[in-house]
Symmetry: C2
Subunit: 393 residues, 2 copies
């Protein structure tokens, strides 16, 4: 069997690095044909030298020039840049599977290009579905393309659905760690610093997603993602707080059975499953020892202290461009929080304010989502200047 | 779709009653064509009047006469008795699925007859596989018959395997409640009474299986059952203590993923799944609320205080007739304990002594298992008379 040819969009991010780790430990199974990276050029150079892709893309022309100088004439690699560069990596004719792991709404366009080119998608970029879920899934159906989730939660649901009948589903139960402030009262939440928020108890992730995990917006975005990925209405998707992050998510069926997928928190498991399912790859991970762990705990999410989850359900209910607006406003709010601009509890306040001001439009083309995204960013930045954050949440 | 035609062997036992409950609530899906019951004739009469089977069997000629008198000429039902009667119920030409729910080794012969007659088997009688697993599975393969487990643990494993590849299994993880004496020290175990042992914390079951649950022999028998049902060596089958009996069992895969099936402890779930899988039936059960439950706990079994589990692994290792001997010796030991003959801690002592005295033979025919069973019963009874139970376990 010849190795599966893969393009990794976002190779220098957390998911990208884990993906390359899986690929390297199964080099007989996978081959990297293209990759796009962020601004960490020394890591990207190392990756290019190790995996020898045919194409590599970076964000700007300047970075492309710098990467060219680093690599020199050592390797036969085409260095591209910008959205066109990423699209060229996503649609490379040899590529069979595109790992979409660019953080944020920037992942949407190259992912759509990959779908239109008929590539299988291993989807870590949740914004793709949050911003334009209906369009993405429609394009996937039209091009007979499979979308394999890389999020640990959605991979768990995929694994818990496999072999069972969709008609028998009662609910999807998405688990959430609850983040570092799960036990904080409203007063303590007001004083949360970026440093505190960046220290996630279970998962090592990028800064944006770590803050989203602390506000629970991450789980809200995952609810939206699940709604599209599994084609189920929002009232069949629930969130359960599970601080140990061992049960990655569950599916409840009409006979009362719940099927769950568990494991140590390591992104290589969902990445490998997305690349090789229904087959599983041996991974060099510590086994999950439930007896040593002793217990798994569960609690209901608190909508008062963590309003972002409710805002995501609200955006789903509003439909159309609302989820794109939720996502864009949240990106601005998180960036502002990280820069010390707004307090932690200001994040949901800003998102709610932008969502309330938005006139929901229909989503007929990716451009509709991108326009809503731009509008929301601009509205959020504007409101940041004269927004008076409520003292009480 | 015409209703699936079913024969229930052991209709008046705990599993039989639950099976008929599932059948009654899905009468469009299932029809009872034959049943065999125990000595509770008033319940059996009620069942016969309600489900109108074509054939019914009881254990003895005397009970058959009494049941005939009770029913009189009200119904057109053939009343049979003894092993032949049960076989006639198991092989009724119209029957598609036989629910094998007779307790003890007595279930083996009619179940084998059903397999040879090409019926699908919903197997609650674990002794069938414990006593003659290799022969039963060989007969099932030869007759192209599917065996669906009704034990909650094996049903959980079946549900956790469904859709996944057998080659990717690392281990089966059978959960055990640990029984009512999980936290008892060795001294307290010596003073355990039958009344204490009959009060199982999570499941309502018959007396024999409740005592087996307290000694953990039940889990040992389930390990043997799993070895045959899923065709995996014993070193790929582990037991985890899980006092809440919510996670009914799990499968660990080579990528570190564990798939688990959970639910409220109610036998109707595995019964319904055995009768209708891969489809699931709506069941009128309280939903599992993990948040209300709060936590699930796990611990390793203690081989010192509960040696029956180790004896079952030992019997598997010895192979051939050894599991039949383990099972028969245990039946005698449990009966003696319930009658006040031996102490609770005497159960594993007697089983071990009988197993040690046994000359393991090959299992080439069901008769080999039945002979070993008879030998073990007789050896156990003999040893009961002059067996000096060790003070320390």
């Amino acid at each position: 069997m010849s190795p599966r040819k893969i393009s990794v969009l976002g190779s220098t991010g957390s998911i990208g690095v884990s993906t390359l780790d899986v690929v390297r430990s199964h080099s007989d199974r996978f081959q990297i044909v293209a990759m796009s990276g962020g601004s960490n050029l020394s890591l990207l150079e190392e990756q290019v030298r190790l995996f020898r892709p045919d194409r590599v893309a970076v964000i700007s022309e300047e970075l492309a020039r710098e990467l060219s100088q680093r690599i020199g004439r050592d390797l036969d690699v085409t260095i591209l840049h910008g959205v066109e560069g990423m699209i060229a990596c996503a649609t490379h004719p040899d590529v069979e599977t595109v790992v979409s792991a660019i953080v944020g709404a920037a992942g949407l366009v190259p992912t759509m290009a990959a779908i239109e080119a008929g590539k299988s998608i291993a989807l870590a970029n949740k914004e793709t579905l949050v911003v334009a879920g209906s369009l993405v899934m429609e394009a996937a159906r039209r091009n007979d393309v499979s979308i394999y989730p890389v999020d640990s939660e959605h991979s768990a649901i995929e694994q818990s659905l496999c072999g069972h009948r969709k008609n028998d589903i009662r609910r999807l139960l998405l688990t959430a760690s609850g983040g570092p402030f799960r036990t904080f009262d409203a007063d303590r939440l007001k004083r949360v610093t970026p440093e505190q928020a960046l220290a996630h108890p279970n998962w090592e992730m990028g800064a944006k997603i770590t803050i989203d995990s602390a506000t629970m917006m991450n789980k809200g975005l995952e609810v939206i993602e699940a709604r599209w990925l599994f084609d189920l209405p929002q009232d069949q998707i629930e969130v359960v707080i599970h601080p140990e992050s061992i049960v990655h998510s569950m599916v409840e069926y009409v006979d009362g059975s719940i099927i769950a997928q568990m494991g140590v928190p390591d992104m290589r498991t969902p990445i490998a499953y997305a690349l090789s399912s229904p087959e599983r790859l041996s991974l060099d991970l510590p086994p999950l020892d439930l007896c040593q762990l002793g217990k798994l705990t569960f609690e209901a999410p608190d909508p008062e202290r963590f309003p972002c989850l409710g805002l995501a359900y609200r955006a789903l209910q509003l439909g159309g461009t609302a989820p794109a607006v939720l996502n864009a406003a949240n990106e601005i709010a998180v960036a502002s929080f990280l820069e010390g601009g707004i307090p932690f509890v200001g994040i949901p306040q800003l998102v709610r304010a932008v969502l309330e001001r938005h006139q929901v439009g229909r989503l007929e083309h990716v451009d509709d989502a991108l326009k809503a995204d731009l509008w929301a960013r601009s509205a959020a930045r504007e409101m940041l200047n004269d927004f008076c954050f409520e003292e009480s949440q």
